[in-house]
Every structure is written in structure tokens, then in C-alpha cells.
Symmetry: none
Subunit: 223 residues, 2 copies
Amino acid sequence: MMVRTRKGMTDRHHRILDFIIQRYEEGFPPSIREIGEEVGVTSTSMVTYYLKQLTEMGLIERDPKFSRAVRPTHINSKDLLRVPILGPIAAGLPILLPDPQAAFIGDEINGVDVARSLLPESEKARGLFALKVQGDSMIDAMINNGDIVILKSTNDARNGDMVAVWLPARDETTLKFFFKEKDRYRLQPANPTMDPIYIEKSEPLEIKGKVVMVIRKLDTTVV
Amino acid sequence: MMVRTRKGMTDRHHRILDFIIQRYEEGFPPSIREIGEEVGVTSTSMVTYYLKQLTEMGLIERDPKFSRAVRPTHINSKDLLRVPILGPIAAGLPILLPDPQAAFIGDEINGVDVARSLLPESEKARGLFALKVQGDSMIDAMINNGDIVILKSTNDARNGDMVAVWLPARDETTLKFFFKEKDRYRLQPANPTMDPIYIEKSEPLEIKGKVVMVIRKLDTTVV
DNA sequence: CTTGACACAGAACGTATGTTCGTGTATTAT
DNA sequence: ATAATACACGAACATACGTTCTGTGTCAAG
């Protein structure tokens, strides 16, 4: 007998969480009243109310013994960003769609730690996910079996972006540099010795994300 | 008995600074009274006194607008490893020898921050350096112009290691998988479609380091 | 319509917090 | 010896802080 469908994160939840994360990264956690002032909540009890919910969602931690003792739960430190590995990527496999909700649910799945200093300013926000390359099908993108590709979730791209695309007509996932030309899209392999693929604009083409970084671990340790 | 040193850090300075650093890493900065309790200073004015000195020494920062707004100025992180970028690497260039001394001298040159969690246990020690790939000569190693290669300084390699070698006979630097065979060394490109190079054991071959990681930043240069 | 959970505001209250001031003692320079 | 300085304790005080209580309005299910 649920009275009202429990909405997950509202805009205010997000803004409060963002503010706490921001302050956490600066090293100075905010007080209840500072949070309220930031997000436009005039009452301290309302902030407590939201903080309680965020705590129950497992997104923040509080220590009732101290004032200003609030911090985001996610493992991300001030210097690191933990990017979730959503799954494998291979030529024959469609890319798993990143569920923005799922990122918050306590799915303690695999992830890669990336130094924030390596990411451009604009990517420091959320929306990043990682895929682990399976097989040798991405060789023309200079990407090997086992490499970790970090992407930003997006549905469109600008010329020159390296994007992960799903080509329904070919049942194929591929990583290419994206160029929009007059009547077609040109998907250019990173390897300059290889030829581009041309996709007519009438053909379907799903951009799943923009590649932000590629990490290759050379595991010299014998497993 | 305690000798009064005119200036500099006394034991209490150190303990206060350590406590601030510890709390900073935990995300919960301490209050004046908590600091006093921790280091055995009974008076809040004494803590203020020391904090003022530490601020003047440039070791901590405070924001008088907020409570608990104290943090160490230096950025030390136990999650990150800063790997110095010693220079470019290109086919025609010999690799700069990493000077272990130079890494410690306050040469605030370029560096990459790497999450320790991405490095294998054995590599967490020192001896790592990074090179920035210049040109397309490493394409057969699946490495692009602009990629950052992180190496561990070593003079020998095991079979299967990816190594950076200098071939004096060819005046060439290259990154290849290393295999020792009966009478020769086989240098295998990472790209499986390309053929290996064979070096007779009589020929000179200088192993400069073992590749631990490759990082490719796709600078979409947004904004 | 009634009910009850949800969303929000305001105020009250006890404690926490940082600053300032007064006092005292040991060390050092002159 | 005297003065200046560094070090130390405690109290006082205004404000900051988090919790809790009361009250209001909304919305959907029964």
C-alpha cells in the first residue's frame, strides 16, 4: 500500500550531494546552515531531513559527534575518481547503457581509479564509465585486448571526438574518430594506415559515449 | 630539560600538523579543542597560538569564516603516485637515462599522477618514470603520438615483458615485447599483424626499462 | 472526504566553537 | 638585574552549530 511512489534522487538531493562533494574536495566540509544557504533551503530541519535520506541511501556519511562531519561515501578521494567498469566491449557486443541511477546504487562492482589531474576540467563531473576491451577487434583504434577505455556518456559528438558507436546495420560496436561530412559520417580509425568507414546519414548509428582516456596495464606479474 | 629553540618546529608543532593532516585525509577537519585534546594542550588559546605559527610557516591554511576550517597546505596523497615525465620518446631519439637523484631534487617538472591501485604491488616502490611519445613511430606497439608511457627502470627483462630498447646498430628506440630465444632476441610488436624484429645476441641491445602502463588522453579540448 | 506519508518553514534549546583577555612562568638578550 | 620574549593556563563571551518540536500545505490512495 504505497501511498506515493518513492522518488529517488530529486534535484535537491543532487545539489546537496554535489555541494558536499565540492566542499569535501576543498577540505572544508559544510555546516547544516551552509548547505541550506547553498541550495536555497531556508530551514535547518529541512537540511537535516535531506541529509538523513542521503545517509539512508548510502551516499553520505555523518558523525554525530562532530559538527561539519559530513562526507560523501563514494570511495572517491579528493585526488581520485573511481570510474565504474560497466562491462566488456567487443566488436560483436552492444555497449551496456550506463544507467545513471545504477551508478548511485551501492553496486560495489569493479572500477578504475583515475587521478583527477589527468582528466580535463569539464570531465570532473559524473557521467564517466569504463569498459574493458575484449578481443583484438579494436586494433584499428590502437586499442588492445585488456585495455580499459574510459568514456563520457553522451549521445552526440563533435568532429574529432573519439566515440564508441553501435552500428545496428552491421551488428557491430567500434571505436573511431567521428567526423560529420556532407551526406555521411566518417568513422576514422586512430591508426593512420587504415581506411575510414563511411556511414550514410540515412543509416542508423548510435553514439554511446565519447572516449576520454585509454589505460593499458602491462601486467608483467605472472598470473 | 626542554631547550627553547628560537624558531622552527617543536614537537608540538609536529604533532598538531600530523593530526591536522590525518583528519584532513579522513575528511573531517578538527576543532581547536579537539586539537588541544589530541596533543595535550589544555588551553584553546594555546592551540590558536600554535595554529597561528603554523600558518605563518606556511604549513597550514585557515579560513576564519568557518569553524574547523583548517587544512595542510602541502598536498600529500597516499592514493597517488606522481611519476616524473623525463622527456620525449621517439624512434630516432635515445631514451634519457633516469637519474635517481634528479627525481628527488626539487625539479618541479612535469609529471603524471597515477592511482596506486592501478599499479601492481611490486611496482609501488620507486624506479618509475614516464615518457611522452613523440610521433607515430610506436604505432606497431599500439602506442600513439602523445601517449604517456610509464616504465620501470631496469636493465634486463623477462620473456613477455614489454620493454623500451635502444638499438645502437640501428640508432633506434623502440617499444616491443621481449622474448629471449636460442641465439637471438625476438622483439615482438604489440600489434599481432606486424612482424617481429630479430636481434642476434652478438648485436648490442640496451634495455632501458619495462613498460608498466600506457595512458592515452583523448583531449577533446571542450569548452 | 478522510487519512497518512511527504515536503517545507520556523523557532527554541543546549552545546560547540573560535576569539580575546588576564595571569603566570621560564628563557634569553642586553 | 632588567626587560623582552616565548610558552602556558583558564575563563569569559558572542556566535555557530545540530537537534528537536510545532505547524502548514500537498498529493494520492482508500
